[in-house]
């Protein structure tokens, strides 16, 4: 499947032309992208470190995880919209950039993993980790921690590849 045509379309779009006109506005959009990353990864780190029993131990995990959801969605919206704006300005360069594709693969994996496995496992965390009271059906503690580590690694890769696009 040849995806390059999407980048060609983006490169010729009015958005691309607009994004290339004002460097000051572009810089502000970049700041929004970084701030969205802080919100997204910050909320994910909070949840994952909690489930690794590294921070906020003893505090009911269900409260923490539930509270992070809204902000994760807001941050994802911000990061994707600002990302598209940034990408439009350098569309053709990104189409052939391996770090960009690695980042997109990581982003897709991260979103799917977070919404499916991570969400399901965290809501079934055993008492010893979750501190939510006795659970009738709980996933084993080592699995919960494995999921947390996997999530941290995926999102680290997304961020690191993202930063490396800037250097390549």
């Amino acid at each position: 499947m040849d995806i390059v045509f999407i980048f060609e379309w983006l490169d010729a779009s009015w958005l691309s032309e607009f994004a290339r006109t004002s460097a000051a506005l572009f810089s502000m959009v970049q700041a929004v992208h970084i701030l969205s990353m802080i919100m997204l990864c910050g909320m994910l780190i909070l949840g994952d470190l909690r489930m690794l029993n590294v921070i906020l131990t003893g505090v009911p995990s269900a409260i923490i995880i539930q509270n992070t959801k809204k902000w994760i969605y807001i941050a994802l919206a911000g990061i994707i919209l600002s990302g598209i704006y940034e990408a439009s300005a350098i569309a053709m360069k990104l189409a052939t950039n391996s770090f960009f594709w690695a980042k997109m693969a990581g982003l897709a994996m991260g979103i799917i993993f977070m919404l499916s496995v991570r969400s399901a496992v965290y809501s079934r965390a055993p008492e010893v980790i979750g501190a939510n009271g006795p659970q009738s059906e709980a996933v084993e503690a080592w699995v919960v921690k494995l999921v947390a580590v996997a999530n941290l690694l995926i999102w680290f890769s997304v961020a690191a590849n993202g930063r490396w696009i800037g250097f390549s």
């Binding site: 496995v117 496992v121 699995v143 996997a150």
Partner: protein, 51 residues
Amino acid sequence: MTTNTLGKVAAVCSIVIIIGWAIYWGVQVQDTLCLLETATAEEVPECLENM
């Protein structure tokens, strides 16, 4: 999906992700070291052919 099955699926997915992560970044580190060697070496090092 029972909790038991979920646990197994989650464990497998996570292990695959962690191993994949290690392989990906292992390759990145290898390539970086190769490029660093290329920059300082007088002759073209072997590692470039494998990149």
